[in-house]
Amino acid sequence: MLFRRAGIFHTHFAADRALFQIPADRWMIGMLLLLALAAPFILSPLYLGSYLLPWLIWTAGTLGLNLIVGWAGQLHLGYAAVMGIGAYATVHATKAGVPWELAIVMGGLTAAVIGSGFAFAALRVKGLYLALSTLALQFVVDWTISHVPAISGGAQATFQAPDLRLLGWPVTSSAGLYYVALAWCLMVTSFMLNLRRTALGRALVAVREKDYAAAVIGVNSFYYKLVAFATSSFFGGVTGAIMIFTFYHAVTPEQFSVDVSIQALAMVIVGGLGSIIGSFFGAAFILLIPGLMSVLIFWLATHAGIPISIETLGHLPHALYGALIIAFLLVEPLGLGKIYSNVRDYLLVWPFGYVKK
């Protein structure tokens, strides 16, 4: 009833191909954008910087990973390494005097080149061997970061990032940093939303489904897999850089370890493979769960009188990631995004019961 399709008639092809055809959708998007822009004036800097900001950045990262996992159908076990490459490259470039906007692009390009270099395996085999080569990428990058002081400042070092500068002006307020992250997240989201309508998106789906059939109609599967990897790595690199400049302000090796890769994958799976709104949900879910669980367990412990050490609490979120991945794959393999679209479909035809697809 809210998402009525009745009464919508298109008189131009452009209108027919619009992203949000149902007026309720357009209103919702409009309101969300307004809220997003007004957030620094509504929320305190604490909420802005500790909740909203990482959520937006991680959503951008999840969307980038979704391009590989959801759209191209490959498994990427080293996304954090790609983000790390972008982060380190950008920090080095900024320290060398390159303007920040250019440094970010350079970071993204470095990540794209190295990240897609590891996709060479796409040339010869498919599927799980590609996944293994990304795992190799993660370990090589881990090793390089710990053992090459020129890049990382050594395993124990914390590499300080300079200020974020837009057009030469330093941006240090929490509102300013928030807007930068918001802008990046919106850019990635609109890219992914439009992917469906472009030749690249169609080619990716064709290659994912049956690559030799795609080759028969002229879609070069190797080229498109490589493009998917390069684009996804570019997004990952820039996201990693933005994460450092707006959130962490310094780079350490643990920020891009294999556990972080797994966290990114968990966000994609929980949110739903290939689902854009799911990426938002998945990122929020995974970011919030550790905090909620710690609070819950602490409350249970104090009420039941069982002493729980800090060490135990520290590893519990991880155990939860694993349990969540398993649970979601069993119950709803298509994640939170599918649950959302089920609800939406229900409301689309309410009070009637059948959805004709």
Binding site: R124, A136, W143, G322, I325, I326
Partner: protein, 294 residues
Amino acid sequence: MDWILFFESTLNGGLIGTMYSLVAIGIVLIYKSSSVPNLAQGAMMMLGAYVVLALSKLGMPIWLAIPLGIGLMLFFGVAVERVALRRLAGQPIVMILMMTLGLEIFLRAGSLTIWGNTGQPLSLGISDSPLFLGPLLISRAHAVGAVIAVVMFGLFVLFFRTRIGVVLRAISDDYTAAWSVGISVERGVALSWAVSAGVATIAGVLWGSVQGVNQDLALLLLKGLTVAVLGGLDSIGGALLAGVLLGVVEGVASSFLDPLVGGSSRDLVDAMMLILTILVRPHGLFGRHAIERV
């Protein structure tokens, strides 16, 4: 060129390599019946070692704790199939792969939560005194591990020639066709996971006696995976040979590279071997090619 060092690294590397093969054999076993590499193999090794450790702490002598531990882990394998894999029976391989990943994270973090991260010793009664082969020094524990690995290899080669072995390979080719000829796919997958969990326990106990029982046992997954890919994901013999090969390359390369790079070059060597295998010969030394008729 220090020849003694070279031969010692080669020999010990080869022996360690056979112990890597033990990890890889579990991965190959599951791949041969489910067509998916089990990313939770390292975690199952760790769990098996912890179970045996817990049993021996309850006062059981080690020669009783190990078979009992293996038995418990057999149940664990069956439980994994029943709870997690049965629902995913028709889904794309990527989903099942992610399920094994989820299992790995859960087991590793879960054991950290319950047992903490300090390494605990597991004694198998193997003396610490090294064996001498001429002027070369060999670790006794590694030698025992190598013998066990070769024995297991022989057992499994025989196993896959039996009727049940053929059925497991059939299941990995096509679930639906297997159902259509009356094969119980559920039982086949459960069997392969149970046996793999048992092998993982043996591997975990052996490695645990060498390096202590803690989270690091699970990280042997990378070694096991590299060996499995190098040998061919569905070849048992390949896993054994590839293990020896990787062990030797690792041992020799790191004994010469470590002083140059400042330590822990083993992991880099492994990653490089993995990349090289995928580049040059993706299906490994003895693996099967995907048969696709267009």
